[in-house]
């Protein structure tokens, strides 16, 4: 058994006793949650369980009422805003694919590259050979090389999801939060996305929120089930899906 301090010092992301409420509604209720470096984790739970709110808190969009949110053991995320947190190395994919529709696929990736993001550095930025190589690599990973010069608006839904994942890769995050990556995808696309995420998780931690149990089974990773703002069960997919509380709250009888 590890002590709490040990768990914390080894963790990449550490949430302890986090609560937040909106107008009396407790969205998160003393939630505790740990992600280790290099881990791929899936989160399931019914609507309103607090999955998106948890991501909002990690990425600085929402401030918790109480509790601690630590990154790499000693960085207090509750004191930072979205831009700070992104620069620390936490990337986030939204539920609804959010890419820059009036830019080309290439420009989307160029903007996401982890380069100085100040006003003047972007004003005088010039695409280097190194950056070109990096973008081409990512294009290859997300299977969009053939559409590099098209406007993102013209991509299919699944391709937009991939482009967004590609942008997160360009950001070179240590932790990737992915909200429902396969919603609205065909089965083939879903399978490919699972492969993509596993590939990505080789070099960083990834947290995936998903409803699609088949997809989660395909990922084959540790699962956390949230309900009413706190953790209901945690473990392998088989363990969690046989838990009577999970069945009652989420999976249904």
């Amino acid at each position: 058994m590890n002590t709490i301090a040990e768990i914390r010092s080894k963790s990449l992301l550490y949430l302890e006793d986090v609560s937040v409420s909106f107008d009396g509604f407790k969205a998160l209720n003393s939630l505790s949650f740990v992600v280790e470096p290099g881990e791929l984790r899936a989160i399931i739970g019914p609507n309103g369980a607090g999955k998106t709110t948890m991501m909002d808190i990690i990425t600085g969009k929402t401030r918790p009422d109480t509790g601690r949110v630590l990154f790499e053991d000693d960085i207090d995320l509750t004191k930072k805003d979205e831009a700070d947190i992104a620069q620390l190395g936490i990337g986030r994919k939204f539920q609804k694919p959010t890419v820059f529709e009036s830019h080309t696929v290439w420009d989307n990736l160029e903007l996401a590259l982890n380069r100085p993001r100040g006003v003047f550095s972007t004003l005088f930025y010039k695409l280097s050979a190194e950056d070109t190589v990096r973008i081409e690599e990512i294009l290859d990973t997300i299977r969009l090389t053939h559409r590099r010069n098209e406007l993102a608006a013209n991509l299919s839904h699944g391709q937009k999801q991939w482009l967004e994942i590609g942008m997160l890769l360009a950001q070179e995050p240590k932790l990737l939060l992915v909200d429902e990556p396969v919603a609205g995808m065909t089965d083939a696309e879903t399978a490919e996305t699972a492969v993509l995420l596993r590939e990505i998780a080789k070099s960083r931690s990834v947290v995936v929120v998903e409803h699609d149990m088949g997809f989660i089974r395909e990922l084959g990773v540790k699962v956390t089930c949230l309900a009413e703002g706190s953790v209901l069960a945690e473990g392998s997919i088989d363990f969690v899906s046989n838990d009577p509380k999970v069945i009652e709250n989420y999976l249904g009888r």
Binding site: A83, A86, E101, D107, R117, A153, N154
Partner: protein, 387 residues
């Protein structure tokens, strides 16, 4: 690095526009000064001044387009920056009157003597020096934009809320400048100018130079704007417009991006105001009227926001139309302007230039833009209204 920045500005259509503007800067004054008055191509001085006024409006529209068309901030207070630039120039011109005013006081403008003031207020110091006044033309609107934007963007005041408080800003300034004890001439504003850097403001030659300067500044600001929007910064700017939270989660400081753009835009507007004042001969608090700022929005919308040339064309077209209508059918002008607002938003959301451009780049781009339009979403609680 810098050279890349400048080089990027030189897109084909921008270069063509700059060439047209510079051509006008040479040909219009030449025709006014060199051709005899009865020559078919002679441009009378009043027409030239009118055209100069349009160029100032075009610069103002360009400034607005930078924040609205590219960054998605609909400012309903850009008239305030224009007017502040104008006042800075007006204050210089007032000081140049010297003892030639009605009361003949070498130190105090007439209106201060009228109000029984004994000495020049501190904020008028330095305005007798041209370089200082020109610095203020940039600095005062820039400072206001900086302070306003610093607060507004940091606390993420967005969309219509921002529009409404920018409108409140220019309205408050209008009320303030109407007050006599503000020291800016109250109701009557600043007028009866005599000369600018030693040349009579009435003289044809001065007018020609002012026209040429307006054209030059417009061309210069167009190039700067082009360099900005074609840089990576410009792409981030469009990103802020289309998906602000994505930009934020990519690690960009959206507030700084907006602030920079807002300040640059305010300075452009200030320059436009400063060139406007000597050509029309007066600046008064009416320039702060919220209606003026909204009119700028329609010029930009007509020409095509999110294109650099659009606002210039829009400003010139609408104002030429205004000059024609208010002369020929004064009753009808507001009907025409109101109808224009409605027609453009309903039938020509991308404006003249935007529509032509998407015509060139085919249906695909049009589809892209229209879905980008949808993706922009709503800032009010009625988030699903688009469906």
């Amino acid at each position: 690095m810098i050279s890349a920045f400048i080089f990027r500005a030189l897109k084909g259509h921008i270069l063509a526009t700059v060439a047209v503007i510079l051509g006008a800067a040479v040909l219009v004054p030449a025709s006014n000064l060199l051709l005899p008055a009865d020559h078919a191509l002679h441009i009378p001085t009043y027409v030239m001044s009118l055209m100069g006024k349009y160029l100032c409006y075009a610069l103002l529209a360009l400034a607005l387009d930078l924040v609205w068309g590219y960054c998605g901030i609909l400012s309903l207070g850009h008239g305030a920056f224009f007017a502040l630039g104008g006042y800075a120039m007006g204050m210089y011109l007032m000081r140049q009157i010297g003892s030639r005013g009605v009361y003949g006081n070498p130190d105090l403008p007439d209106f201060m003597i009228f109000l029984n003031w004994k000495e020049l207020p501190w904020f008028w110091y330095g305005f007798d020096m041209f370089p200082f006044a020109m610095l203020m033309v940039l600095f005062v609107p820039g400072l206001l934009a900086f302070v306003f934007g610093w607060f507004a963007f940091r606390s993420r005041v967005n969309g219509v809320y921002l529009s409404i408080i920018t409108q409140a800003m220019t309205y408050a300034l209008m009320l303030a400048f109407f007050r006599n004890d503000m020291g800016f001439g109250g109701n009557n504003g600043l007028t009866d100018y005599k000369e600018i850097v030693g040349f009579s403001v009435q003289a044809g030659g001065t007018r020609a130079v002012l026209f040429a300067l307006s054209a030059l500044m417009l061309a210069l600001c167009l190039l700067i704007a082009s360099a900005i929007v074609n840089s990576k910064f410009g792409k981030v700017l469009v990103g802020v417009r289309d998906a602000e939270s994505r930009v934020r989660f990519l690690g960009f400081r959206v507030e700084n991006i907006k602030l920079f753009t807002f300040v640059v835009s305010a300075m452009f507007a200030g320059i436009a105001g400063a060139l406007f004042v000597p050509q029309v001969g007066i600046i008064n608090p009416g320039e702060f009227a919220p209606a003026n700022s909204i009119e700028v929005v329609v010029w930009t919308a007509v020409g095509g926001r999110g294109t650099l040339i659009g606002p210039i064309i829009g400003a010139v077209l609408v104002n030429a139309g205004k000059s024609y209508f208010t002369g020929a059918f004064p009753e009808l002008w507001l009907f025409a302007l109101g109808g224009l607002f409605i027609a453009v938003t309903l039938f020509l959301p991308k404006g003249i230039v935007g529509t032509i451009q998407s015509g060139f780049s085919g249906r695909k781009a049009m589809k892209a833009a229209s879905s980008a339009e949808k993706g922009r979403g709503d800032v009010t609680p009625v988030a699903q209204a688009a469906e």
